[in-house]
C-alpha cells in the first residue's frame, strides 16, 4: 500500500509516466488507485516520434500493470523518508 499512499500525496503534481512499451507521457497526476492505475490530465507525449497519434489528449487513464517508471518532480521526493517507509513496508508493516 506504500506507493498507493505515496502517489495520493503527489496528486496535482506533474509527473512523467514511462510505459513498458517505451512510451513516456507527461501530465498532471489527477488520481491513482490501489492497483496504481493512473489518471493524468493535460497530457503530452514526451517522445512524439513513436506514437504521433496521441500528441495531445486531454486526459488519459493508464493501466497500472503497464507502467515501468513514474518520474517524480525532484523537489517532491524526500528520498530518505521514502527509503525508510519502503523498508518498513517490505517487513510487513
Amino acid at each position: 500500500m506504500l506507493f498507493f499512499s505515496y502517489f495520493k500525496d503527489l496528486v496535482g503534481q506533474e509527473v512523467t509516466v514511462e510505459l513498458k512499451n517505451d512510451l513516456a507521457i507527461r501530465g498532471t497526476l489527477h488520481s491513482v488507485d490501489q492497483y496504481l492505475n493512473i489518471k493524468l490530465e493535460n497530457t503530452k507525449v514526451v517522445d512524439q516520434d513513436k506514437y504521433p497519434h496521441m500528441l495531445s489528449v486531454r486526459n488519459c487513464f493508464i493501466r497500472g500493470s503497464v507502467v515501468r517508471y513514474v518520474q517524480l518532480p525532484k523537489d517532491g521526493v524526500d528520498v530518505d523518508l521514502l527509503h525508510d517507509a519502503a523498508r518498513r513496508e517490505a517487513r510487513g508493516g
Binding site: M1, N59, F61, G64
Partner: protein, 233 residues
C-alpha cells in the same frame, strides 16, 4: 484469456444483435453505444457499428456485416484517452493502446497497412469514433470503470512466493493483506503518510543497538592475532 485484439462475431440468436457474453464467469454488459466507427491502427475507419462494453471486454459489432466484429479484453488495454486534437485525428474519439506480445520479427509498419491479410493480434492502437461526440466523456468514464474491474489476476501460487514473504528475522510479524475494494483518491490527504507507522508501534521504535562484549563472540582470527601480538611483547 486472450491477449490483444481478436475477431468476435458471436451474436445472440434473439435478433437483438447483442453479443454473447460469458455469464458463467460473471461477465455483464455495462454500456451500449450505438453508431460508433472503429479505426484499427492506421486502417481506414469502419462504420456503421455498435460498441458493447462489458465488465471484461470491449466489443465492436458491425451493423451491416453480421460476421464482422472485434473484441479486446480490458486486461489488454494499456491506456485509453479522449482525443479531441484535430491534428492527431480528424474526429474526436476514444484513443486506446492495446498491449501486444512482442515478436522479434515485428516490423512496426507492416501490420498496420491496408493489406489483405490483417493480423488483429498485432494491432496496437484503436480509435472508437462515436457519431455523437458529446458521448465521449461518458465512454471514457465507462472505460475507466471497466479497467478498474480488471486488475492483473493474482496467481494463488505466486502470492505464496511474493515479495511479502521476505524474511528479516526469526520472529517476523505476519504479513497483512491489502484492501479488496478499489478506491480512487483524488484529494490530497492533509498529512503525508510517509514517516508514520501503520499502527504497529513496535516497528515505529528506533532500532536499538545490541552491545555484546562477550569474548566468546569475537572472531576466532582476531583472538589468534591478539595472542600472537601478546607473545611478541
Amino acid at each position: 484469456m486472450v491477449a490483444g485484439l481478436r475477431e468476435f462475431a458471436l451474436r445472440s440468436g434473439d435478433g437483438s444483435g447483442k453479443p454473447v457474453l460469458d455469464e458463467s464467469s460473471g461477465e455483464e454488459l455495462m454500456h451500449v453505444q450505438p453508431s460508433v466507427a472503429v479505426a484499427l491502427g492506421n486502417r481506414p475507419v469502419e462504420f456503421p457499428g455498435t460498441l458493447y462494453i462489458t465488465s471484461r471486454k470491449l466489443i465492436w459489432l458491425s451493423d451491416v456485416d453480421m460476421a464482422k466484429g472485434y473484441a479486446v479484453d480490458f486486461l489488454s488495454i494499456s491506456l485509453h484517452a479522449v482525443s479531441r486534437d484535430p491534428e492527431a485525428y480528424s474526429s474526436p474519439c476514444i484513443y486506446t493502446q492495446i498491449e501486444v506480445e512482442e515478436d522479434e520479427d515485428d516490423d512496426d509498419d507492416s501490420d498496420t497497412e491496408s493489406t489483405e491479410v490483417l493480423d488483429l493480434s498485432k494491432i496496437r492502437e484503436m480509435r472508437l469514433v462515436p457519431s455523437d461526440s458529446t458521448q465521449l466523456e461518458t465512454m471514457f468514464d465507462v472505460f475507466c470503470e471497466c479497467a478498474e474491474l480488471n486488475p492483473e489476476p493474482v496467481d494463488e501460487e505466486e502470492e505464496e512466493e511474493s515479495g511479502h514473504n521476505w524474511v528479516f528475522s526469526a520472529d517476523q510479524m505476519d504479513v497483512r493483506g491489502g484492501d479488496e475494494d478499489a478506491e480512487w483518491q483524488i484529494s490530497q490527504s492533509p498529512t503525508s503518510v510517509i514517516g508514520h507507522s501503520n499502527g504497529d508501534e513496535g516497528l515505529a521504535q528506533p532500532m536499538l543497538e545490541l552491545q555484546i562484549n562477550d569474548q566468546r563472540f569475537e572472531d576466532a582470527e582476531e583472538m589468534v592475532h591478539e595472542s600472537e601480538t601478546k607473545d611478541h611483547h
